[in-house]
Subunit: 194 residues, 2 copies
């Protein structure tokens, strides 16, 4: 108990979705998502123009990676599509698979898609005030289906870790695409079952 | 993995601090806080009139009490004082002491007082948008120092448990009282060191 962390606070603006005094800011650009979007030709087409837009970023309050601590922060996904598919996060299982996560929608309009390795799937809207509970064992990806930026607060055990590789290799069972101007959750034809 | 919980969502109203579709609502009345307020004569005086006001309540989304799950909810502390001391929660250590907690102020104006068994003390304001990180090993109590209800969102590991007994027996090192119309954090003359 000699290295007890000190309490502290950060400020979250419910209007803008901005969290201040974060410890770590990570920007994820299109080039880093090449294997996560379904239309790779479209990704390559955009990148070939010399553009590499930021698709999402997160502002994290990271704690020590030991049991009992909680990491929290805000993720912002910028609006847009790659082909028919809306901007998305890579999505992940937790490396420690029995770790849950809580999300709170702050700005914008999104859909969370979730799945287990037992092939269960689920999706839920995430809008301002939606508190989404992602139980242990569920991979989760967030998709911005609106015209504004989608910002949400998240909190998860700091020793949970992230497994992006399963998603990189196998994808999500569902995609969120625009059809006739509306978001639609459809089967991913390229999904590889575990 | 046969009993995997399903993802779900709840709605939190950032204006009112109300969370919908909670699983458990707990009201804590003055009579249940007799040993937690510093002025017990004043508590008994109020109770002797036949009044037993609700001091605070919480609306909880409880998950299974196993490692990896996260309980969350909203606590609302109604405004007022008992003697000079502002309305407060009992405050607790987690039974599993290495469990952190994250708070987000939604409505009203409060102060969180915190302490460790090593006699470290801390206090931080909690107002709308304040995200307060209570690290592992810190007891925490929230006090409503404003004229409106104080509501805050909280999230903590569902297997953390609550130890109210240490606080019941020894108190907090600090009290939050009104002095010349302003909140002030002062030493608790009755505090018993661990």
């Amino acid at each position: 108990m000699s290295q007890i962390s000190k309490p502290y606070s950060a400020i979250l603006d419910f209007k803008s979705g901005i969290i201040k005094a974060f410890k770590r800011r990570v920007q994820v650009k299109l080039s880093g998502l090449r294997e996560f979007f379904s239309d790779r030709k479209e990704v390559d087409q955009i990148l070939s123009t010399g553009e590499d837009p930021i698709i999402y970023e997160y502002f994290e309050h990271s704690q020590p990676e030991v049991e009992g601590h909680i990491n929290f922060g805000v993720t912002t996904i910028y609006p847009g599509k790659v082909g028919k598919e809306y901007h998305l996060t890579r999505g992940h299982y937790h490396a420690k698979e029995n770790a849950a996560e809580v999300y709170i929608g702050i700005t914008g309009e999104g859909i969370m898609i979730m799945q287990t390795k037992d092939e269960e799937v689920a999706h839920l809207p995430i809008r301002p005030g939606d508190v989404v509970y992602v139980p242990p064992f569920w991979a989760h990806r967030t998709v911005n289906v609106g015209k504004q930026k989608l910002s949400f607060f998240y909190a998860y055990p700091s020793d949970a870790g992230h497994d992006y590789e399963v998603i990189r290799q196998k994808g999500f069972a569902k995609l969120v695409i625009e059809e006739k101007g509306q978001p639609k959750v459809v089967d991913n034809p390229k999904f590889i079952k575990s």
